[in-house]
């Protein structure tokens, strides 16, 4: 039996080694955008704190403070400040979307703006968000609204933020308020952006607020974020009962799950084990929890979380994926994440040094197609100071999506990150992710198209959309 076991395992490992490798000829020869599913959402994405400007929340406190050793929290020492001033220039942003030929826009609502103090609601802010989504729908652009995109009101942060259960009820109440206000215009909701990133950056790596560095706390935070999602999804279904687009459903709910290819650096067993554990935590735990209704997280000898969360099992209508890059991992048992993540020297990288690996998008579309939900790519993009590299990036990644779609994967949307340059969290405003470049030196925050706009327009035209001339 043991010989059979060995033979079977070895054979399966041999069989799974095939990896896609996209050639430039394949990508250049493809008619990108053609043959996608009817109703495919092609758009761009932003987040409130990164583009609106004028916010006051836990992140603005973080931006204006430093680590105990004096290092600034924001690498380029900028603050979100006015950002792209979308709060006052949303109409311009709608024009940008129409120039792209987008039929959808993913944006977020800012909790700290809507409820600046506990129980005190800013109805004017809510009215403005309602006006935005109404304008989008009138322009033929489906709004996809994210409820939580990394920032917390200061009063929530003061209670511990995601560190304790006190956040659950306020987030549910906030959801009810937004659903009741925007539900007539919004059907597609993203409750929480990147649950694992909230846990890792803020509670394990400590490079985002609140700056904690505990693997165990990070795991409990991830579990709590998923519980908050379940409560939020139930609240959306209860309070958004209006079918805005007439497709027979009033709500269509998911999360934006950040995924990264996890590659063992070497054949070392230690590297492989650490890579497997990291993959499970970073890529699999969230979707497994949504499928089973149980949150299961563990670290050998440190903690074990295994509990059922009411409402979690049926909370996804779709799976949103945010894909940017690949991590190559070398074991480092002294690090809270158990590994060093790096990019081998000979790999192509973007301005932040992230591995450019479009095959990873294809691999993850195939991987997550085994779950019972349609998939939306809610974020994909690159920081590119000159804008010259982005067209090839966009083409290669859309090729990956289209290849997976052609092979039967139920992928129903692609949102490029980002519509315009924005405040990129701990990296500040230096990384340029925008399809449209924002002039931060100009108070008017003028938006200028980058070369990838033409690439996006080409895809839109092939998909039957009509970019504004």
């Amino acid at each position: 039996m043991r010989f059979l076991f060995i033979a079977a395992l070895l054979a399966s490992l041999l069989a799974c080694n095939g990896r896609p490798s996209f050639s430039a000829a394949d990508i250049d020869g493809a008619t990108l955008g053609k043959g996608l599913r009817p109703g495919f959402l092609l758009g761009a994405a932003t987040a409130a704190h990164q583009v609106e400007g004028g916010n006051s929340n836990d992140w603005t406190d973080w931006e204006n403070s430093a680590y105990p050793d004096g290092r600034p929290h924001i690498q380029d020492q900028t603050v979100s400040g006015l950002a792209a001033d979308s709060w006052n220039r949303f109409d311009e942003d709608v024009v940008l979307l129409r120039r792209l030929g987008a039929n959808s826009y993913r944006l977020s609502v800012e909790w700290s703006r809507i409820e600046p103090e506990e129980g005190k609601w800013d109805e004017a802010a809510l009215d403005r968000y309602l006006a935005w989504v109404t304008k989008l729908r009138a322009a033929g652009i489906e709004p996809v609204v994210t409820l939580h995109h990394f920032t917390l009101p200061k009063w929530v942060a003061a209670k511990g933020g995601w560190s304790n259960d006190d956040i659950l009820k306020p987030f549910e109440t906030f959801t009810v308020k937004v659903a009741a206000k925007l539900g007539a215009q919004v059907d597609t909701w993203c409750t929480i952006n990147e649950p694992t990133v909230i846990a890792v950056e803020g509670y394990i790596d400590g490079i985002w607020p609140p700056g904690h560095t505990s693997t165990k706390e990070g795991a409990f935070v991830l579990a709590r974020v998923m519980e908050a999602h379940a409560h939020s999804a139930a609240a959306l279904r209860a309070h958004d009962t209006i079918d805005a687009d007439g497709d027979g459903r009033a709500t269509f709910i998911g999360v934006a799950h950040h995924v990264r290819i996890m590659q063992a650096a070497t054949d070392s067993t230690l590297d492989t084990v650490v890579t497997g554990l990291t993959d499970d935590f970073a890529n699999e735990a969230v979707v497994r929890a949504a499928k089973t209704g149980r949150i299961q997280l563990s670290s050998p000898g440190d903690f074990e979380i295994d509990r059922e969360v009411p409402g979690l099992k049926d909370s996804f209508d779709y799976l949103g994926l945010n894909y940017y890059t690949r991590d190559t991992l070398r074991a480092n048992l002294g690090d809270p994440k158990l590994s060093n993540s790096f990019v081998p020297a000979d790999r192509p990288v973007n301005d932040l040094g992230w591995d450019i690996y479009p095959e990873g998008l294809y691999l993850y579309l195939k991987r997550f197609s085994k779950y019972p939900w349609p998939i939306y790519i809610l974020e994909n993009g690159m920081p590119d100071e000159t804008g010259e590299a982005r067209p090839a990036f966009l083409r290669a990644h859309f090729y990956a999506l289209q290849k997976a779609s052609d092979e039967g994967v139920d992928v129903r949307g692609y949102f490029h990150w980002s519509l315009m340059d924005n405040f990129e969290w701990a990296e500040g405003v230096t990384p340029r992710f925008g399809l449209f470049r924002v002039d931060y030196d100009n108070p008017a925050r003028t938006r200028t198209p980058t070369p990838a706009v033409a690439t996006f327009q080409e895809i839109a035209r092939n998909a039957g959309l009509k970019p504004l001339e």
């Binding site: 043991r2 010989f3 076991f5 060995i6 033979a7 395992l9 070895l10 399966s12 490992l13 041999l14 799974c16 080694n17 095939g18 990896r19 490798s21 290819i261 996890m262 590659q263 063992a264 650096a265 070497t266 054949d267 070392s268 067993t269 230690l270 590297d271 492989t272 084990v273 890579t275 497997g276 554990l277 993959d279 499970d280 890529n283 699999e284 979707v287 497994r288 499928k291 050998p300 190559t328 070398r330 074991a331 060093n340 790096f342 081998p344 020297a345 000979d346 690996y357 095959e359 691999l363 195939k366 991987r367 085994k370 779950y371």
Partner: protein, 243 residues
């Protein structure tokens, strides 16, 4: 480099490798592998059994295939590497033992785990029924950050009547985290923690030559590793233990 020194040391003892004296002697006892036994007279009837240590000098070289990866919902992501192997063991007359290996894996596909080399260098003692060796393993991969990785390694063996047990930590080229192996002559079958198995076999080709085959597979958390090795071995003589 340690394996190179080991090879050189083995070769330096080459004059004794094919010594015809013991084979020509009119005895049917197992050929002694230690100098301690050299003085045994050729009359077997009234003599105590010669002292034969559990292991003897040996040098092996061959190839290994390594499959490694992790699993997720309905799938697996991994790499396949093919590696050259050199390994050897020196047992001095006092029982002092040096045991080492060199593994040089090469990935079969680009964009995956990188190749480098791994050295295992252990020292210990070998008696008539037991052997213990321990020491570090060092892996160097130029593309990795950091490029070097150290791990401890251990193997202990005890021979009962007709069968033996061996246990190891980061054994077999530092690939197997923990194992307990039953040894029966030229064959071994083992348990690899927490879920896994290994098997070894040695086929004698000549008086000093043999073919060693090993296979192992294990699962640890969501990680799966499998390895098959085939090596040709050359030794002064066979010891009493399994491969």
């Amino acid at each position: 480099m340690f394996p190179a020194l080991l090879v050189a040391a083995l070769l330096s003892q080459g004059a004794t490798v094919d010594q015809p004296a013991a084979a020509a002697a009119p005895v049917t006892l197992p050929t002694p592998v230690n100098d301690d036994a050299a003085a045994v007279p050729p009359d077997r009837c009234d003599l105590p059994e010669p002292f034969v240590r559990l292991h003897a000098d040996e040098l092996s070289a061959g190839l290994g295939v390594i499959g490694q990866g992790y699993t997720f919902n309905g799938g697996r992501f991994g790499d396949l590497l093919v590696g050259g192997i050199v390994e050897g063991r020196l047992v001095w007359g006092s029982g002092f033992t040096v045991d080492g290996s060199l593994l040089v894996p090469v990935p079969t596909a680009g964009d995956g785990a990188s190749g480098g080399f791994g050295v295992l260098a252990r020292i210990g003692w070998t008696g008539e029924r037991w052997s213990v060796v321990s020491g570090p393993s060092f892996q160097f991969v130029g593309r990795a950050r950091p490029d070097g990785q150290w791990l401890p390694s251990l193997r202990a063996t005890y021979l009962f009547s007709g069968w033996g047990l061996s246990a190891g930590l980061f054994d077999f080229y530092a690939t197997v985290p923990a194992h307990l192996t039953l040894e029966l002559g030229d064959f071994g079958v083992g348990y690899v923690a927490p879920i896994g198995a290994l098997a070894t076999a040695r086929f004698r080709v000549g008086r000093s030559l043999g073919l060693k085959v090993g296979a192992m597979a294990f699962r640890l958390f969501n990680t799966e590793v499998a390895m098959v090795t085939v090596t040709a071995s050359w030794g002064r003589s066979w010891g009493r233990g399994a491969p």
